[in-house]
């Protein structure tokens, strides 16, 4: 294809922070768009203050949490509470194809940077606002972050064991749902504008996007009145199905057998144990009915195995299986290595640090982690001169007045 990146030439004024917004614009940045992130020392992105840090030492430019979500972007500092900064922001909006922001709804309005005002500056503008619960409604202004949203939107309730309190997913789970929807719809809006010349405003509530990952349970409630709960590792369709203890400290193997062919493969991989012939395990529905008897028999085999070797043995026999991998395991997984899942990028303050690669690969315009996340204000010089056309003297004044700050 006669272009290197999918979105080369596309320009984004990125006012987002924390998780959902920056992850959304990262897709565009890694695929060639010019994404300028507007930050300020007066209100640093909270992820810059969050671990893990290079060498465990905190610092605004040392957080991998921030770095992972902000590859391939330009970083500038601008104190948007100052009117001069708001005017400069509008110049950037006039330059941009897309504006993205992820504040609680009143913030951009307060700065005079809401869609109604920005489309006066740039009538073809596409603007994405993403916040927890949407731009309208009685809870619109309620602040929050991903852990709370994961709880509010039902994911905590379905995590863990039925006889215990929830065992929540690690971290801000919905922050890894909403961006998939936000990036998709932004890209579609770009194409719509290419076709028609019409830009538009997108209000993406993280709550609403996330509920699409619960849709069958929501229908089940509306239709049957059933409330989905926690089910541990039980499956309605597979047995054995679960995490089984292996040799070593806290090592586990996940195994899932969902049909007769896989069951036969499983028994063959275990060298045909006698219990494999018991009538109570003869069919999939019998195995489901007797899974509590089956699980200890499976585990009696796995506890004697080294997890990686057993996973390989089962996979080779045609049984879905895999090690319950911790993060160190992930960095040593040959499948992830072959895919390019972890990449070391050099960073001005952090040196080489591990970044995540992409979840999809494009065969002709592959995209890449073009460069490490910016340190605070790293691209002030470039953006204020090359994009906004300011003189060195003007820039010096703006720095002195803490507009560029």
């Amino acid at each position: 294809m006669n272009r290197r990146y999918a979105f080369e030439g596309i320009k984004v004024a990125d006012f987002t922070w924390v998780g959902v917004g920056p992850i959304t614009t990262k897709y565009l940045a890694d695929h060639g768009a010019t994404v300028v992130r507007i930050e300020s020392h007066t209100r640093p992105d909270v992820l810059r203050l969050a671990p893990p840090w290079r060498d465990g030492q905190p610092g605004l430019n040392r957080s991998q949490f921030f770095a992972s979500f902000n590859t391939s972007k330009y970083g500038i500092t601008l104190d948007l509470s100052k009117p001069v900064a708001q005017q400069l922001a509008k110049k950037l909006v006039a330059w941009a194809d897309i504006v993205a922001e992820s504040f609680t709804p009143k913030v951009m309005r307060h700065w005079g940077l809401d869609y109604e005002q920005l489309k006066q500056v740039n009538p073809r503008l596409i603007m994405l606002s993403t916040c927890q619960q949407g731009q309208t409604g009685p809870h619109a202004l309620y602040p929050g972050f991903g852990q709370l949203m994961a709880s509010l939107s039902g994911f905590y309730h379905i995590s863990g064991w039925p006889d215990r309190p929830p065992a929540p997913p690690y971290g801000a789970y919905t922050d890894f749902i909403a961006p998939r929807f936000a990036a998709t719809v932004l890209m579609a809006a770009l194409d719509y504008r290419r076709r028609t010349g019409i830009g538009q405003y997108i209000d993406l509530a993280q709550y609403e996007a996330s509920l699409h990952f619960l849709a069958p349970a929501l229908l089940d409630y509306h239709v049957n009145g059933r409330i989905l709960g926690r089910e541990g590792n039980h499956s309605l369709r597979a047995a054995p199905h679960g995490a089984y203890r292996c040799q070593g400290e806290d090592r586990w193997l996940a195994i899932s057998v969902s049909n007769d062919a896989q069951w036969q493969n499983f028994l063959a991989a275990l060298d045909h144990p006698a219990w494999g012939q018991e009538p109570r395990f003869a069919t999939q529905s019998l195995r489901l009915a007797h899974r509590d008897a089956l699980d200890p028999l499976v585990e009696a085999w796995t506890v004697q195995q080294e997890a990686e070797a057993a996973a390989e043995r089962l996979q080779r026999a045609g049984v879905p299986a895999g090690v319950v991998q911790n993060c160190l395991d992930l960095h040593q997984d040959p499948r992830l290595a072959a895919w390019g899942m972890f990449q070391y990028l050099d960073h001005p303050e952090m040196g080489p640090s591990p970044y995540e690669g992409h979840q999809f690969h494009l065969s002709k315009t592959p995209g890449e982690l073009r460069w490490a996340a910016p340190v605070m204000g790293q691209h002030n010089e470039y953006v204020f001169t090359e994009i906004l056309g300011l003189s060195q003297k003007e820039i010096a004044t703006l720095i002195e007045e803490k507009v560029i700050y």
Binding site: P52, A167, Y201, E208, H222, L228, V324, Q359, H361
Partner: protein
């Protein structure tokens, strides 16, 4: 040109996905693309995924199927026959997207892989969902949701120390992969519309789970440690802090911390105090710096004792109220907490109601209207919409084979006879 009636109006997707990728086509259907689900003549196996309408296991009553096929069309087509493959090629010539989740290399083995399809239609974009990518050694590995949750790293940090690692209910990894496939497909779509050239998109489902680990992957490299699964507790600087508290009718998620969250903690303690349930020392304490940073420099035992005392007081307070009462008051006082919602709580949300999130979809065959989750975003120029109920098996054979491909009646009868459709 006439203005397209919807965001993706005028584009056509052939959807070959099983449950692993169904959400991708659903997202495209919501955006106004024409999405044609291609099923084997006996019906897609995902039609038998629970739960079911009135618990009646039936090819036309899976609520899982309803949820992720809404707004699509259905045709039957047997790719195992030469006629079936020829028809598929005809379809590819008039399509913009193909999305599939077959075992890696299966379409290639039928002569229907990306290279072959791009010769028929250079514009075509083929998106393949794969468990571990298209390269060895993962290429030939099999996985379902459990295995992806395990190998992707999320399972190891979910659960409790005295039990095995645990997954989340409801096949979450398939939804991550399906939604990510939508991103990848759109990322190929934009340059295609600029250059006329399509490409192959490969989604790695394991990688989709790794991405959900947030900041965790780098810990072993940068800090030399990793978190361990610890139920409702999180650890920081050697301390153990509860994140989920019991209340009268369920659970509440509440992160007690100072620093940037001190405003919330102070508001919470003031609320406790107004109800006469805040210990005096909690009211008097300076919370502005209380958190992991100060824990690091403090005596571990004393800090843990303090954390435990705070949590005991908070639990006693929350136990006097229901989830709904607590959340309503938290909204007023700007306290950062959330109920551990069930689907019933979500269905009753006044915020979702105010935004008309749930939309009624008519199932005239069942004589019923069912509430569905509505558009995932609100767009000013081209609103998204759930276009209608899921299709019956082969409901659109006539429309697609007759009108779109222009096959005559005789041809259709013959194709049916040889089992191609």
């Amino acid at each position: 040109m006439t203005t397209p009636s919807a965001l993706m109006a005028g584009y056509r997707m052939l959807d070959l996905c099983d449950e692993r990728g169904m959400l991708c086509g659903k997202i495209f259907a919501d955006m106004g693309a024409e999405v044609i689900k291609i099923e084997p003549p006996g019906g897609d196996p995902a039609r038998l995924l629970p739960p079911f309408y009135h618990d009646e296991a039936d090819l036309e009553k899976s609520l899982f199927w309803f949820a992720y096929q809404a707004g699509k069309k259905s045709i039957t087509l047997n790719l195992d026959t030469a006629d079936g493959r020829a028809i598929f090629q005809d379809l590819v010539k008039v399509a913009d997207f193909v999305v599939e989740s077959f075992p890696v290399g299966y379409l290639d083995s039928l002569g229907l892989g990306y290279e072959a399809l791009s010769r028929l239609n250079p514009r075509i974009i083929v998106t393949s969902l794969t468990p571990f990518g298209d390269t060895e050694p993962g290429r030939s590995h099999q996985a379902d949701d459990l295995i992806l949750w395990a190998t992707g790293g999320m399972m190891a940090i979910m659960g409790e120390q005295d039990r095995p690692p645990v997954r989340m209910n409801l096949l979450q990894s398939y939804f991550h992969a399906g939604a990510e496939a939508a991103v990848g497909t759109m990322a190929a779509h934009y340059p295609r519309e600029c250059t006329g050239e399509g490409q192959h998109v490969v989604v790695n489902m394991q990688a989709c789970i790794v991405w959900t680990l947030m900041n965790e992957q780098a810990y072993p490299i940068l800090h030399g440690n990793s978190v361990q699964r610890n139920g409702v507790f999180v650890g920081s600087a050697g301390m153990r802090q509860r994140t989920v508290f019991p209340c009268k009718d369920g659970y509440i998620t509440l992160l007690l911390a100072g620093g940037p969250l001190a405003f919330s903690l102070r508001a919470f303690i003031q609320w406790m105090d107004e109800k006469g349930m805040a210990p005096k020392w909690m009211v008097e304490k300076d919370w502005s710096m209380w958190g992991p940073a100060t824990f690091m420099n403090a005596k571990g035992e004393e800090v843990q004792k303090e954390i435990d005392a705070i949590e005991a007081a908070v639990t006693a307070f929350l136990m006097t109220m229901t989830k709904a009462e607590i959340y309503a008051e938290a909204l007023k006082r700007r306290i950062l907490l959330a109920p551990v919602s069930t689907v019933a709580d979500i269905a009753a949300s006044e915020q979702l109601a105010a935004r008309d999130f749930f939309v009624p979809i008519t199932h005239e065959d069942l004589g019923e209207t069912i509430l569905y989750p509505g558009p995932f975003a609100k767009l000013s120029a081209t609103p998204l919409r759930v276009a209608g109920r899921a299709p019956h098996l082969g409901e659109h054979n006539q429309e697609v084979y007759g009108k779109l491909l222009g096959y005559d009646k005789e041809r259709l009868i013959q194709l049916r006879a040889v089992g191609a459709i």
